[in-house]
């Protein structure tokens, strides 16, 4: 297949060998599971259980609210210990409603919905509902509810489904292992998704630094003529969906549009596997494969962990720390978020837990920008990080927005490449937050203006009504007086 070049990008030290040869192991059931109600983009789920309740494995414990949301299920059987606020696995560490489940060790399944017979000929709507019920969200990191994406076929003219097996982040090997060990499940899930989307073709893109995964997937796809497995160049951030689509099709997704606008829907390989399980076996999303790696981890590994297990449990399975970690990261080193602590739970979008040594992070005090242009050359989005950061430093968000800070995908390439070690991405995160906050405030002001106008209108109406009433009363009084007068006269 002919591939197309993408702009910029970097070649960081991948270090995938730390965990790429470790087969996926299941995490023994931990003592407690912490299931946050918000593990996805959209509205948080609403808890359906209360402290003390007994639940079975796979039982719905929080239902989705609104169009873009996802439900949560009990990863194992046990007793609800509490529904309370604990710090989220998020850099803010803000408390967040979480269901705490105490496993009873029996791992007893609830009654699962019936598998969908012959899903490749089933009604797409049925599959979408099943995916929604199963609480599947994108496992590539963004955790967007997958059922919503599977609906795109009804609104867009789609050409093919692109399965994202690029896994361009350093260290991470979870997708690699899933593809190697469960190639058939992934392919089956992809075919179901393609059918749901109403597309005929499936392209599976895998970076060329994963030859075994490529081989396994090619083998598994051999019998399906509609599936193409493609090796793409090793170039961070090849896994970004817009760039991957560009590499495969040469088409550039316009700003503020979706890849679906140019005919492609992108899903992660692990998402495909989850769909396979939900459709073929009725199983909701209860666990995911997490790569635990980094120089500070004694034995890096790929762990299939139940949602809600604490990071500490995963690290313990890897033999603990071999040294003092300088950073604890949720996800890959480029786009991952710092973890507030080892108590944070595994969530659906968590692809990796990295404990990195100071040497690996190579964090140095920021120096002045020497305008070397490295950040400009490598930005895959064609932005000018050096200028944006300069304006953001002066809190000039307008110009930063004009320069495209909102188009930045936070891939981290610029921060990685900066010889002065300027925290460029941090500046952009700050600016995006400020711009969003301003936008929220602007919307709020607008709403308040409407409310105030409504209030004024109401007050006016009331005043008019009061006036009318008074006039009416006065008139009646006058009438009355006149009438009595007349009566008097008559009398």
């Amino acid at each position: 297949m002919k591939l197309f070049p993408i702009r910029g990008g970097i070649h960081p030290d991948y270090r995938k060998e730390l965990s790429s040869e470790k087969a996926i192991v299941a995490l023994p059931l931990p003592e407690l599971l912490y299931i946050p109600l918000q593990q996805h983009i959209g509205a948080p789920a609403e808890a359906l259980v209360q402290a003390g309740e007994l639940v079975k494995k796979g039982q719905l414990i929080a239902r989705s609210q609104g169009g873009i949301s996802a439900p949560q299920h009990a990863p194992t059987s046990g007793r609800i210990k509490a529904v309370t606020d604990i710090p989220a696995p998020h850099p803010s560490g803000l408390p967040q409603p979480t269901i705490i489940l105490e496993p009873d060790g029996k791992d007893e399944w609830t009654d699962l919905p019936e598998p969908i017979a012959d899903p490749l000929n089933a009604d797409p709507q049925m599959i979408r509902e099943r995916v929604a019920q199963a609480g599947i969200v994108g496992m590539g990191g963004a955790a967007f509810p997958s059922a919503v994406k599977l609906d795109l076929g009804t609104r867009y003219k789609l050409e093919f489904l692109l399965l994202n097996g690029a896994e361009c982040e350093p260290y991470l090997t979870c997708d690699d292992r899933v593809m190697r060990e469960h190639a058939d499940e992934v392919i089956d899930g992809a075919r179901i998704m393609a059918h749901t989307l109403g597309v005929k073709k499936i392209v599976i893109a895998i970076e060329q630094n994963k030859p075994q995964a490529l081989a396994a997937m090619t083998g598994a796809a051999f019998t399906f003529s509609e599936v193409d497995v493609v090796g793409v160049p090793v170039q961070y951030p090849m896994g970004s969906e817009r760039h991957l689509v560009q590499a495969i099709t040469g088409r550039e997704t316009p700003a503020k549009k979706l890849t679906a606008d140019i005919g492609v829907v992108v899903h992660n390989v692990a998402t495909a596997r989850a769909v396979h399980q939900a459709v073929r076996f009725g199983r909701p999303l209860l666990s995911r494969v997490v790569t635990v790696s980094g120089g500070a981890v004694r034995e890096p590994n790929n762990i299939e962990a139940p949602i809600g297990a604490r990071v500490a449990d995963l690290v313990a399975l890897c033999g603990g720390f071999s040294g003092e970690p300088a950073s604890l990261v949720n996800g890959g080193p480029m786009m991952g978020q710092p973890l507030p602590g080892l108590e944070a739970p595994v969530v659906k979008g968590m692809s990796g837990v990295l404990a990195l040594t100071a040497g690996e992070v190579n964090e140095q005090p920021a120096g002045p920008c020497i305008r070397c242009g490295a950040c400009v050359a490598i930005c895959p989005c064609g932005l000018v990080p050096v200028e944006m950061a300069a304006f953001i430093r002066k809190d000039n968000f307008d110009v930063a927005a004009q320069l495209g800070v909102m188009d930045c995908v936070s891939c981290g390439s610029c921060s990685w490449a900066c010889p002065s070690h300027i925290p460029l991405v941090h500046y952009f995160n700050y600016a995006k937050g400020m711009i969003n906050a301003q936008e929220r405030e602007r919307r709020k002001n607008e709403r308040i203006k409407l409310l105030a106008e409504a209030h004024n209108a109401r007050m006016e109406k009331l005043a008019v009504a009061a006036e009318a009433k008074r006039a009416a009363v006065a008139a009646r009084k006058a009438n009355l007086a006149a009438a009595t007068g007349e009566e008097k006269v008559e009398a």
Partner: protein, 179 residues
């Protein structure tokens, strides 16, 4: 000498005439700045700015008598928009420190007098006579007028809590800003 004085005078008269005429033909109506400014203010007529309402505030702004930071409910966003419109650089540091607030009615003290709901210019307070009132947090813009009228001091202003969806990264510690 006559030529000198004459030519200069003729020139003066001519130019004066042209300019006078030009000022007439090319005159522009007073700029609609005031209207634009009014449109940018929240319009809640809360009076926190010290003017009777947003219209007067806008007029003062247009005359250059009021600072762009005059409107507390408008917050930083409005101040910045005003500064941009008026082409001035505003010191917004004061605005940054002010945390947005909203009103909360403490049940135990509310006697249901309805004074507050009458005061609120955005109808953010609901409740019937003699019954507990409460504030719709999303509608309240934190003007604090209700606090002042409440006879039992049942209303207090609280900072709007930060949530996962409103949290964002703070400005990086600019170690490389050497000054």
């Amino acid at each position: 000498m006559l030529i000198a004085v004459g030519s200069l005078t003729v020139m003066g008269i001519a130019l004066g005439g042209i300019l006078g005429a030009a000022s007439r033909f090319l005159a522009v109506e007073e700029n609609p700045l005031e209207e634009e400014l009014k449109a940018m203010l929240p319009g809640s007529q809360c009076g926190q700015c010290g003017y009777v309402g947003c219209a007067q505030a806008a007029a003062a702004l247009a005359r250059g008598e009021a600072p762009v930071t005059l409107c507390p409910p408008g917050g930083r966003a409005v101040a910045e928009a005003l500064a941009r419109k008026l082409g001035v650089t505003a010191d917004l540091s004061e605005h940054e420190e002010k945390v947005p607030q909203y009103a909360v009615v403490r049940e135990e003290f509310c006697v249901g007098c309805t004074l507050c709901s009458k005061e609120c210019s955005v109808d953010a307070i609901v409740g019937a006579n003699k019954l507990m009132h409460s504030v719709i947090a999303e509608a309240c813009h934190g003007c604090g007028k209700c606090v002042k009228v409440c006879p039992t001091e049942a209303i207090e202003m609280r900072p709007v809590p930060e949530t996962l969806s409103t949290w964002h990264w703070a400005k990086p510690q600019a170690e490389h800003v050497l000054h």
